[in-house]
Symmetry: C2
Subunit: 431 residues, 2 copies
């Protein structure tokens, strides 16, 4: 883990402080474009072809949708303990999302015009759930439940079945969330099927959920035809420390990010070099016995950084420049610092708030903006699954008072018919 | 204007009821990609080169930013009347957006954990304002003011200056909104400059505002590097009529959409064929003397439709299938119908609520989802300019009660380090 001491005048370094994860291979872009276009044009037959090629099993119109029987079997396969934990998690996610849901509202202005917005759920949402090694049942809960709380009536999950094999815990998590429409499809071909629809897979209005680079690029390509949540990159944590608390806790949290994949970004920003060195020693120690030590070690080596700063304010500057997905405030008075935090996906306050609580059980979705997207994006929530159409009702008084402005402004934009659409309504008074 | 009678069993037609505006020319996509990439790599020099080529004037580091003097001059050039109308509009937009702004909020759950979200403005926003014929000062107000109300500190406007000529009303509108950083750049090259930054144009975090197909495609390409609002298409209105009110008013509103451009979509859905015929007659009559009659006539011919339906419920089905940008409920009891409307950008209630009020003065932004995007998108608002990072503070009691779930779920996902990051914190109690 690289130690970087930031002294005076480090402001100009801030722009490049985030470890670069490199560009995108144009060959992959071309491959993904071709797959997306093929499925758009040729529907099921292309979808089946790519599933055979990448997931190595024969998909057809009969087996594409996972049956109720298969879901029940999967639910029976997981332990009662895990089932109960998933239920506790589901309940907490549901409660949190309910607390966010905005209520539709109109008000009357001084002229008696009624203004405001309605709240309407999206009709149909597709959720991508990765398969294989990175198949996380928690992600099913963290994406499906916000959609359900928002009032989405149709939710379809797409999850790949490498060699035809399903992940029981994913199916169980879907069932616990309340989703029963699940397709055994994955990759760019699944995203295209959800975006454009095929004979077997109805078209969705929005596609959410994480995936590998193929899935992320496919989502970007279909964006516009459907909405998407965000383009997910490797997971990140920035731990802001004032040298209080236990180095071994902070080390453990850095490793929890690092074990996700080799590209994960574990950052420490600390006001004490001695404490930071202690943390690094602990990282090395804990790394030794870790199941996923090769992955975690590679992430620490590539992207691990310990920034040493002069003050908490400098630490905040670093954090705001990184705009991390996860931010832990491992300091004495986290609340006093929170108001200075400008960009982050989720902020964890205090020493007890290990990031893993956010991954599984706290309530807010663990689908968060990565790669600096916290500069402009929010965590996945009910807001991603509703629209708020404006509602405008012009009163007689409002019409009388404002029509002159509309007419003159329309003429100033050379939009005569706009002006006339108001003028024609004035005749009532003139005739 | 084509009359289409929808009798029984029209449900299966709904899928294709929206007039198709055709696909995108791959040559344009390639051209735009090249421009975006060139500006990304070569910054100012590429930006200046394309400005010379497309806008026909010499751009350089000295003249790229419009001066305070130029803005003042532009403001003096417009009439007092227009200046006052713009101020009234600005005030109403500001008031409406203030009413939307969410307040940050946390709550304690039963275990004493604190959960909620902060509200933070985006740091820097780029607004694209078209030049030439479609330069609308109202769009400056409708994009800049929501950003300002959200608390955005840095707002940069990009607006093309064909042959070096500026649009005074656009500059005046920017000044009235409170924006003084304006660049005389346009097209895909301006979007790329805002997205990646050049020596003269600082990088933005989000780019909003309408534009032609080059601008729309460039926005899609840079999406991910920065956020964007939406990919804007031709303007649309769907007028839902129960045969009450005046045919000439409805005709005028259809023409107000049609005059925007040849691709605009003016739709009528009416329960009375006689009334609809009356509206069509009025459209023809009013069209004759219109300044922009060639554009409006072409839009009516291409995309104009009068759907005749058996009932208001059938009319609503048609509207929900179209998901129009603007929806006028020209019926006796618009409020009773509002709750059945699933998808629309903005809904105008009753005969007096001409859509033009929404364009200029009502308050809600006139930047709305087009092309069916109302299925998944909302009007531009303060929500586009804030992020809501999650806030998670785990209490001692919460830790004790929930750590078992986190540990077991982490193991079930083969994320041992996640489990250990909780276990390490339990030592406190065990030692």
């Amino acid at each position: 883990m690289k130690v970087i001491e930031l002294n005076k005048n480090f402001d100009r370094k801030l722009k490049d402080i985030r470890p670069s994860i490199g560009g995108i291979d144009q060959n992959i872009v071309n491959t993904v474009s071709k797959i997306v276009e093929d499925v758009r044009r040729n529907g099921d037959s292309a979808l089946f072809k790519y599933t055979r090629r990448f997931d190595k099993f024969d998909l057809n119109t009969k087996n594409i949708k996972i049956t109720g029987k298969e879901i029940k079997k999967a639910k029976d396969e997981i332990t009662t303990k895990i089932r109960n934990h998933l239920k506790i998690s589901a309940r907490r996610i549901r409660e949190y999302q309910k607390s966010l849901l905005p209520k539709e509202r109109t008000y009357r202005d001084r002229l008696g015009n009624e203004l405001g917005f309605a709240v309407r759920p999206i009709d149909r949402v597709g959720i991508y759930v990765p398969g294989g090694k990175a198949a996380y049942p928690s992600t099913v809960l963290m994406t499906a439940i916000p959609a359900l709380v928002a009032g989405v009536k149709e939710i379809a999950i797409a999850t790949p079945a490498p060699n035809g094999e399903l992940n029981s815990v994913v199916l169980a998590a879907a069932s616990i969330s309340g989703v029963s429409e699940i397709y055994r499809i994955g990759g760019a071909q699944a995203i295209s099927a959800l975006a454009y629809g095929t004979d077997s897979v109805p078209k969705a209005d929005k596609i959410v959920g994480p995936g590998n680079i193929y899935v992320a690029l496919a989502k970007k390509i279909v964006y516009g035809e459907v909405d998407i949540d965000c383009i997910a990159g490797p997971s990140e944590v920035l731990i802001l420390s004032d040298g209080t608390g236990k180095p071994e806790w902070i080390a453990a949290d850095l490793l929890a990010q690092a074990e996700h994949d080799e590209m994960a970004v574990p950052l420490l920003v600390c006001t004490s070099i001695n404490f930071a060195k202690h943390v690094i020693k602990e990282v090395k120690k804990q790394l030794k016995d870790l199941q996923r030590r090769d992955i975690a070690a590679e992430a620490i080596k590539r992207n691990g950084r310990a920034f040493i700063v002069k003050s908490i304010d400098d630490a905040i500057k670093v954090s705001n420049a990184v705009a991390p997905e996860h931010l832990e405030l491992c300091i004495k008075s986290p609340k006093s610092v929170l108001k200075k935090i400008k960009h982050a996906g989720a902020v964890f306050l205090g020493h007890m708030s290990a990031e893993a609580f956010g991954d599984y059980i706290a309530g807010p979705s663990h689908v968060l903006p990565t790669g600096g997207a916290a500069r402009f994006s929010s965590p996945l929530s009910v807001y991603d699954f509703i629209k708020m159409p404006s509602v405008i009702s012009v009163s007689q008084k409002g019409f009388n008072k404002l029509s002159g402005s509309v007419i003159d402004l329309a003429y100033s934009e050379n939009l005569e018919a706009h002006a006339l659409s108001v003028k024609v309504r004035m005749k009532k008074f003139n005739n």
